[in-house]
Symmetry: C2
Amino acid sequence: MSVTDRIETALHRSLLQATSETTPPSLREAMTHAVFPGGARLRPGLAVSVAAACGDRNPLLTDASAAAIEIMHCASLVHDDLPSFDDAATRRGQPTVHARFGVPAAVLAGDALIAVAFEILATPRGRSEADIPRMIQTLARCIGPARGIIAGQAWELESETDIRTYHELKTGALFEAAAMLGALSSASDPSGWRAFGTGLGTAYQIVDDVLDAAGTERALGKPVGQDQLHGRPSVVTEVGVSGALDRLQSLFSELPSLIPECPRPDYIHAWLDRVGERLFPPLQNQAAAAMREEMTG
Amino acid sequence: MSVTDRIETALHRSLLQATSETTPPSLREAMTHAVFPGGARLRPGLAVSVAAACGDRNPLLTDASAAAIEIMHCASLVHDDLPSFDDAATRRGQPTVHARFGVPAAVLAGDALIAVAFEILATPRGRSEADIPRMIQTLARCIGPARGIIAGQAWELESETDIRTYHELKTGALFEAAAMLGALSSASDPSGWRAFGTGLGTAYQIVDDVLDAAGTERALGKPVGQDQLHGRPSVVTEVGVSGALDRLQSLFSELPSLIPECPRPDYIHAWLDRVGERLFPPLQNQAAAAMREEMTG
């Protein structure tokens, strides 16, 4: 099974197992709409690839880790899109959850997805060597108020925000956790993988900032220009589109050196190559168009 | 230390441990406002009392269980009070979280409290005999989309709702989990405690319905008449105030027979007596006033 199929199967299975005949129909539909169809599935791809690099010793637990990370990411998107935050009408080319099912269902779907992510990670499955409490802690911290995405999102409500902390929390935390959960699900030491996750998260944040500044809603399937509209810190505001692309290039070329010693580093190198192939061309097209406009406009 | 002091200390410690210097100040304040000052702290009281009845073999884990259950309850209140749900301006005699800090901070504070509840339960502390993954699953299910409070809340969005399922999920689930986590934290079999939690939850739901129908905002510190206003299922709508009180009396007198065999049942009997003393007199006063009004009005 390909990594993509493996992730989609794990996500479908997770939602099925975590709901029942007493799940209200509109809650179930809103949760499903939040998770399918997906975006690039970068975070679960990272978890699966790190687990593979570490020997994939508990495949079912790797699947659960990947699904938990992606479900947490989807939960954060549902709440971020709400009218009281980004007020976004589209996401991944579809109506957002609140646009389709209303604000109350969207708030509850986000809450429910958070619960599901924890439940599937705690449900026993071939986990004799794995440290489940530590995995739950890792998942809780990467979303929580100390150093997680919720803290990152809440920094948007403050009058003064340090851009580095903001990005580390809002984007980096989930990439770090994805890498660490991949290692932990293979009963491997996660500490070396943290820096790799951080690096990847920082790179992805630059991609996101450039696309928000230079992309189109049609190409991205979601509103653009949001950072400027909401006055949010952005790498593009800080160093411009070409400065951001230089920084991205340099960060991405450093990533392989951050891969810790592991039995099968080839899996993570191969995944990194695929991510680069997928992210860079559209980014360079969009950025080139934006820079042409800057020069001629 | 009294049970009350023990619970307040555990809650303070939990919020302190789960936040850091990178927690945005307004998020921290909103979370604190959601948890302090508390209400009756019935659910953590139940967890602590069941643990005591089972021998309280891991006191720090009992504290974590009690805090996790109460923090989850507070999270659900923050989201329930939002303008898109109950639109309540007061709670426990104070402005609600969104009334004081705004809707975005309230959404994020609720999310953050859910993360904190899982984190503190997963953080290692004298848990050699305890089954932490099972405790996490119990916590996740009691809030989740299959049989948890989020599912209960989402049934309010459906056009047809079965009142028994609605109450079992919206109120019963957290009482069941409190009783089960109390037992699990003492490394005891939780299965017998589930029915006791269910019974207590059903009794509390009747109290809540009667107070909503017959109480005053001044006495309760929160808006009343909400069930009728939002067209929600209520025991009072079904059988009237006096019918509800009869049902409550009969349920409460059955509760002691639901206590499973355990080393120190006296702890749970004593707690049940205190709960009865606390709940019944104000309830009977309010109900008597309401019934007088019904007869004369």
